[in-house]
């Protein structure tokens, strides 16, 4: 049943008006949804909207099953992302910077989502602050960005240093990399919220997706 602004599938109500309000169709959060449910929601969004349709955190088996029934999409296994109708580039340069190689999956999600919604992504990896010259060697690429996504686990110090080097928006993503006193990302989260660099903003732990969507909002303005 289609009502103004959403389609009532009984067990779900895809918000078909979101594209008009926010500039992007509703993004589907994959976990906890069956293939059947993902198919139903994606089909609705493809039919009722015109922009890119994304499903996050989908493993290869589920992705293949969905794609068999809703062709035309692409699955990025490292980013765990399904995308139909990838957007054209809007001319917004996004740097995705990660402190360590273990932060790679989160960086991959951020980069893939950002690309799918039309941002132009540059990736800089393994520039943790214990060898700060590695980051300083990248100042030129950082200065060219319209926004920077900073990904770090452990003590989460990277955004504080980056935030002192560039004036553009810095979106900090804590990751659950580490053990013991890192508390699965909580330490990095708190550190980023407490940053001495001004104007740093923070999203949820391991959420490369949220960071990319925040960048999309900035590009959208």
């Amino acid at each position: 049943m289609s009502e103004p602004g959403f389609t009532d599938l009984g067990w779900a109500r895809p918000d078909t008006a979101r594209e008009a309000r926010l500039g992007l169709p509703e993004v589907v959060y994959g976990p906890g949804k069956s293939v059947e449910q993902i198919v139903g929601i994606v089909a609705t969004l493809l039919a009722e909207n015109t922009g890119p349709v994304l499903v996050t955190r989908v493993e290869p088996d589920a992705a293949a099953a969905v794609l068999a029934r809703v062709p035309g999409g692409v699955h990025d296994p490292e980013a765990r992302l399904l995308v139909w109708r990838r957007a054209a580039a809007v001319g917004f340069a996004l740097a995705v910077v990660a402190a360590g190689t273990a932060d790679g999956a989160v960086a991959a999600e951020a980069a893939a989502v950002a690309t799918a919604v039309g941002l132009t992504v540059t990736r800089i990896s393994d520039v943790g602050v214990a060898g700060v010259h590695r980051l300083l060697a990248e100042q030129e690429r950082l200065a060219a960005a319209d926004a920077v996504i900073c990904i770090a686990g452990m003590e989460g110090a990277l955004p504080s240093v980056v935030g002192g080097l560039v004036g553009c928006p810095v979106i900090a993503v804590p990751t659950s990399v580490g053990y013991g006193a890192t508390f699965e990302g909580v330490t990095a989260l708190l550190a980023m919220l407490s940053s001495c660099a001004t104007g740093i903003v923070v999203v949820n732990i391991d959420s490369g997706f949220s960071a990319a969507m925040a960048a999309f909002r900035m590009a959208h303005t």
Copy 2:
């Protein structure tokens, strides 16, 4: 002693190169600094930089003592902000939205800082989600904003609703308003980080300043 990029006052090193890197002189965090120290740092920044100089969280007595020695500044007592050389407007529309009247001091700080660095601020007050029609009546003003700062204590739900209404950046500020299970802003902080609205970004508890600086970064891009 002036070195490349900072001035060494012995007890402090104002980062005089920050204006060149970030587009704004270093902002002085007031708490824990004596009048003497504030005067010294502000004088250095005014001399070495050309943009606006701000001191945050300054009470009236300290403000008067500082202004007596470094004239030309203005103190906003509600925002607890000292400003010299307020910036010209850069044409970036910022909406500062607060859930309740008790969130007023945080909203005042956000608005005053944003104005001082050149943003154009609109304030919307007392639109908590328990009477959601009050927020819906403001959709037009929200749609006109380049970015929205959403301020809320208690359960911190406001950014989730606002984030579903507008496509521009939404910067969420949790406040320490409430008692018991609000844990002085921690509940609102966690709720905002967990928002079901995509791309919401979060700053530290009660930090109207951080939210304004985040908006400045966005305007700067």
Copy 3:
């Protein structure tokens, strides 16, 4: 051995007087009990009481084994509920409202328990606050309810909005849906306890059962 008010099975003492005191036989909490133990307790309650007998959180295999020895019951696999002697409807309209599709299992438990004890249940699904028009479209069904159970994970904002729309009791159930800063339902729990909507009451995380029993108490008055 039967004593006044309970039956001593040695390893358990079913509270056979609970039906007289509370209007409903003791409900059996399934986890940690063997089939043997469930059978013993259910048989006692069926013999000593006359109302509905429920066992919560029972998986299909255990359910089948119990039903093979105590016939006449029904297992609802989604709600993980075993019921014997379902109650007749008492004329109390309960709306079970869930923010997202991932909250479905908790909603199913709430609905199944409520139905088993005689309430009349209406379900409203996927009305999260990031697309608040979906909820506003359901105001009529909400207004017809004698009580509303509001189920939400992540930031747990739904009960605040619902509580501002209806005057009947609103029972909030936080769920463990989400990751990172949702802390397996703790964030939603705290947010619901901190709600700016007045008179919202809260039960334990993921406890559709507790919410339904709270509604039963209200219907019982």
Copy 4:
């Protein structure tokens, strides 16, 4: 400025439609509001609504200043409550039960708010579970209630025992009474949420107000 559903005072928007939606005018939360602000909001609510108007957590001095400008109200200093146009009794019997004498202020607030909105209150004091015969001696009064508010600090065990004695709704209020491992009410809050008695509902720490409003919702059905 009066808009449909609220009055925009600039710094506040009293939700004048709340009475129509919920059966009671918006209640004013006192802390953080100036006398000026309370006067403005109360005057609006008295003018635009017809039911009782309440301001919570008001100390005597502020209460006197407000009453001097908005006559006709009454201040209850123990409950810290200001009331105009107390409601007529609606025939709903509410028992307010407190574990210890130190829980008295919370019980007073619950009782005063409930009375102001039309409930008929009975108070039972000092029936902590370490002398459980004191509670058992009150079973008759408990059985006569349409709902019970159970107030306890320390280990918060009272609602579990009461919930096993009566079938009507039990609204548990944790208090900050105690020291050390009571963590200012957190222990009692968690204990009440974890109660082995079924269908207990919980409100915020020290919030006699929330408990009374929850009872009002039940009476309203």
Copy 5:
């Protein structure tokens, strides 16, 4: 190498003087030890001491392997306890009281350890406070005890009620039974430490062993 007071096995130093100081040989904590290690330590303790030797938290396979090499011991699988040279009864009556059937494993450990070191144990099961008459029916057995071990999960209220009924020592054991806001026993632990009944003492979560050893110390006096 045997030194005064301990035997140095290289990887372990069984404290062979503990029996002389405390009246009982060192008890071996099983987890994290190989069969080889348990055998070595037990053999040392049997050789150097004369009292009962216990190994806690041993699963059946490991127990069988140890007993094959150090005969004469007995394994209690429910209590997960290995015992050699069980002590003669010392005439100390211990009641082991558990709130629910799910607390059975902890109660079994407490009872088995206590019995092994010479206490005389009585068990009372499933007397949770939501049906307080079940506990009141056992007052005679409780009054006959020299000490009571009170085991409860969820809100951990049982020791508060028992502590108000008997004057002998009450040793409270929180268990990890429950979900959500029980936080794997933390809620019960805090509640027991905050008990309004005077003189209740508390041991670690799920530690039937610690409670039994505390009772042994009391019997020893």
Copy 6:
């Protein structure tokens, strides 16, 4: 009104049967009670019971006001304790051992309460584990005790060492002495609950009173 087992003063119900059940009249917790309330409860307990009557945590002014109206009591200002009808010695030797001089107030409360209820107290002070020879020099006095109360703040290690030296009951009391990572006694509390010495029991932070009452229960057996 006197009912079986308690006296209903309206605002309080002294549990006059507690002396018969537990061997000691109800102890009055001072904080949050007015002089009027303390007088009323103490007078009732003195009239209805025959044993010692205690009020804890009373400051000098309140103590003087109470004693002016209920003569015959004694106030110990260091222990903050009011006592009427101190008990005769029952022949139970209690050692009160404190790690540092800053733990003195807690030790004073433990000693004063224990003495008031008939135990014979020995005090050992400033035997923190960083100079363990100071404790080892006291082994004789420790060995003579029927029970030991171990009081420590900071890392709370004292009970672990004492528990390895003596076989009698060891009651651990964490104190709020320390700063930073001591978290006002929480660290010591957790350390004591986690002690590698077997059979240590723990009471609430800073509660010399609870420890003394636990010892009284042991003496009572």
Copy 7:
């Protein structure tokens, strides 16, 4: 009474053998001690030992009162330290590095304690990571140190960067500078424990004293 290894003052036992074991007399922790007590302990240590005697966290009034009775000492008000018999320099170069000016009091304590026990201190201030060039400008002084104490509040990132620049020991001190999500130093503490720089060690929040003593141990080797 003087016993081997300590002097029993009744209320305290100064550990007079500590100087022989550790190379430094016991240091007196000031808070919670009366002037009388400080005088007694200091006099004992001066008489029984030959090295420097220190009392930490003493405010000016108490310091003056103590010095009037035990002459020869010096009070440093910024460091809140009392020192008698300052040690001769042992030739160990210690750098005390602080992230912000608000960390000054902690740095002052670290420097004063270190100097008193014979270390040679260099101070570097206001080198927070948001302007990392300020720290890089000090690499020469850092490289000359035998150990570095790194003091930082907020996100506590400084030790991670310093630890990547120098190979000598880095002792991290979290401070309670900041608000909201800094949780009075807990965030910095956790960040320092989680540092990606290897071999960083951490002491308690705000404990300049502990850091200096750790450096003393290193110099002592």
Copy 8:
């Protein structure tokens, strides 16, 4: 691509200048890295540096796969450590002291890392404070050490006692040994940070590696 100070492998940037700055090549953290990645980084470090190359927390299968491609290394399965080019002894005596046998894996990692970087290690095992004579019997070996690593789970008391016996640096390592209130090492961590022994330093939970690296920094001075 080799740049000054690091080699850019694209997905990683081994910090090849670290050996020059810190005296030891970058150590590779194994978890989350593929065999391919470990091989690439190790090969780079072996080529660009001359000192020992270590990979931590590598399980046997991965170790074998790496060694097949980068011969010349050695795997220690208990320590989970891979080492190429073990350093010659530098004449620094390190004692690795563990409270219990269950702390063995952490002690093994500390000892293996320390040995690989040139320290001379002595191990002392199973000297928990509940039998403190076992530790006192080792005072001679402790006194001979240049630094002591103290490893303990549960209440983490060992460093406090050791710190009072020796004057050299004491590096405390909390372990996750224990259950319930030990909170997987958090209790031991907090206890060590709160130690009453002066100058104790602390590293992350279970991090034998960090402790060894801290000792290396001390030896390096």
